[in-house]
Amino acid sequence: MLLSLPALHLQTSEHHPLFQLPHGRLGPWCSPTGSPAPLSCEAGCGEGSWILVCRLLVPTQVSLLSMEEDIDTRKINNSFLRDHSYATEADIISTVEFNHTGELLATGDKGGRVVIFQREQESKNQVHRRGEYNVYSTFQSHEPEFDYLKSLEIEEKINKIRWLPQQNAAYFLLSTNDKTVKLWKVSERDKRPEGYNLKDEEGRLRDPATITTLRVPVLRPMDLMVEATPRRVFANAHTYHINSISVNSDYETYMSADDLRINLWNFEITNQSFNIVDIKPANMEELTEVITAAEFHPHHCNTFVYSSSKGTIRLCDMRASALCDRHTKFFEEPEDPSNRSFFSEIISSISDVKFSHSGRYIMTRDYLTVKVWDLNMENRPIETYQVHDYLRSKLCSLYENDCIFDKFECVWNGSDSVIMTGSYNNFFRMFDRNTKRDVTLEASRENSKPRAILKPRKVCVGGKRRKDEISVDSLDFSKKILHTAWHPSENIIAVAATNNLYIFQDKVN
């Protein structure tokens, strides 16, 4: 589908405070001396505090109606009022990803739309607006489908977006729903040809009899238009739901992983893919383990990892065999017998796996912890961070309301020194690997005051609750931060909370 939209800029004064600090050196975590400054956990204006850059409300389906002719009213369902803004279920952000330079930030939502934000360019007049992200392009990536053979709907929800490195003026990204991966090209157009012979200015055909002279069409500048076109559609290769896509470092291939299989694609070929992992048992009754996430090594194009619902990670080398059913490395931590319960397996299920930028480590997220593994040590992780251990005593209730199956993602910062993941009540957590300090922050409208610094939050586990603490029983489990992203080189983070996208930056003195 070809969608031509002028570059949109949200009315920034409408919702959120805007303030920019002069962009100087990188944040305290990336100090050039090599010893990163500690993450400040104390409230206040100290080094290492995070400030809100902007809160972006993805335009609802209603506002897009004027631009599109086809109205699918089915998308506008379950409307509810939240924080004085109308939010439809289709607007729930389901994935967030910066591109390789950090200039662009893409979000996918439950309604199958992709919205790309672009960083405001630094200008002499408005030096304070640097770092703000504005809408660059919006397009409908996937539509709901119906599988007639199984009488089941195929959701249009965008599960993952991955950018390709930029090789020319256009931007390319992969977006996927449960069944189909698409390669989108996003390009700018700021000139158009004028002076056709056979068409008039409105595009109507001219009567040839009226043409008496010939002229050469010329390119004239026009308002910037950003077009998104689907260049490839990779369909019909997955029986089960796609949970991950990963672009290979050779930039020629990528992989898509579903619950039981992983396929390797070439970008140019859409009617074939190689199956490189298949864990489907001959008898489905014997199925006890599924693939939950997969990723290519950032530098070695033959290496990838995939995680499972049993808390294991397998590293595979595609040079070893065509079908990588036998892993090269197997990462698993022995179970702690003192913590054993009926929920042990469920909470050990890995929801996300990410290579570090260096390629030396992998990070995994299970329900209660984030773990960092050294690729050279398979028997246990080198670091374990508790995200919200206070939930350990609530597992039965969380099982009952299905929250225990929530899939949280995790991200590295550009220098691999800090890791971040989300939690409930719109909290998200950052862990400094060097100083071992951590901080809990909240992405909420109430705390978005102009020039406000994010105040660290604390959950009170038991006993006396201090003034600013929140007790476990007061946590809102419907407000979950599943998707976050970290700028590849700067301390700018994007946090998705339902239909809101928060962008935070570290405060640089």
Binding site: K150, T288, I346, Y399, S474
Partner: protein, 236 residues
């Protein structure tokens, strides 16, 4: 949505005099098993069920069942926890928070926890019906032999996993019969009564929440249905 208020209610009830304490481990385990079975069956059939979630729940169920048979709790026909009201078993949060009540009397109410023991196969139906007739007082929540339950459980599991597989279009009838039988299972699961209609998921749920008929009339309608089926078979 996490019921925030529920915990405070629990605390109050636990403290109140005369009501006993936190439910026993076996009670908790049993209600967890029931909750898991209900979760497995009540997949959102509009969209394909989440395979990862189903697998994790199924593993949890297996784990519980294995532990129960190791503990020797898995007896065919043995009354489980004298005087436990059958309704408690399905409303799991209430069970976990509420105290063990006294005997409610033998309301023979069909339980979805038991429904795996009632497979759609007519042969087994006869068996369970016969059991009901023989021993109505023991209540329908008594499990049949663990082997049967496991077989039927894994059969239900199989059906759930198979809906996710793309079947080769060998014959439309084959496909349709599979679909039909899975709906049929949902009904028997949720209402515990062999019924001719297939109301689908919502209907099944309604059948569960409303007060189901006592087994005596259920048995009668089952027998009548069985007769009808036999008549058809004999005639053809």
């Amino acid at each position: 949505m996490f019921a925030r208020g529920l915990k405070r209610k629990c605390d109050q009830e636990e403290v109140t005099e005369g009501f006993g304490t936190v439910p026993s481990y076996s009670l908790q385990r049993q209600s967890l098993l029931d909750m898991s079975l209900v979760k497995l069956q009540l997949c959102h059939m509009l969209v394909e069920p989440n395979l990862c979630r189903s697998v994790l729940i199924a593993n949890t169920v297996r784990q519980i069942q294995e532990e129960m048979s190791r503990d020797g709790v898995w007896h065919p026909g043995a009354p489980q926890g004298a005087g436990r009201a059958p309704l408690d078993r399905l409303v799991s949060t209430e069970v976990l928070c509420r105290t063990a009540r006294g005997p409610h009397g033998e309301q023979a109410v069909p339980e979805s926890g038991e429904s795996p023991s009632q497979t759609p196969a007519p042969g087994l139906c006869t068996v369970s019906l016969a059991q009901e007739l023989r021993d109505p007082e023991s209540g329908l929540w008594e499990m049949d032999s663990p082997r049967e339950s496991r077989a039927s459980f894994s059969k239900s599991l199989d059906q759930i996993f198979e809906t996710l597989e793309s079947k080769p279009p060998g014959s439309m009838e084959e496909l349709l019969s599979d679909v039909e039988s899975s709906y049929y299972d949902l009904d028997t699961v949720l209402t515990g009564v062999v019924s001719g209609s297939k109301p689908g998921l919502c209907g099944g749920l309604e059948g569960f929440t409303t007060a189901p008929s006592p087994p005596s009339s259920g048995c009668k309608s089952d027998l009548a249905e069985l007769d009808h089926v036999v008549e058809i078979l004999v005639e053809t």
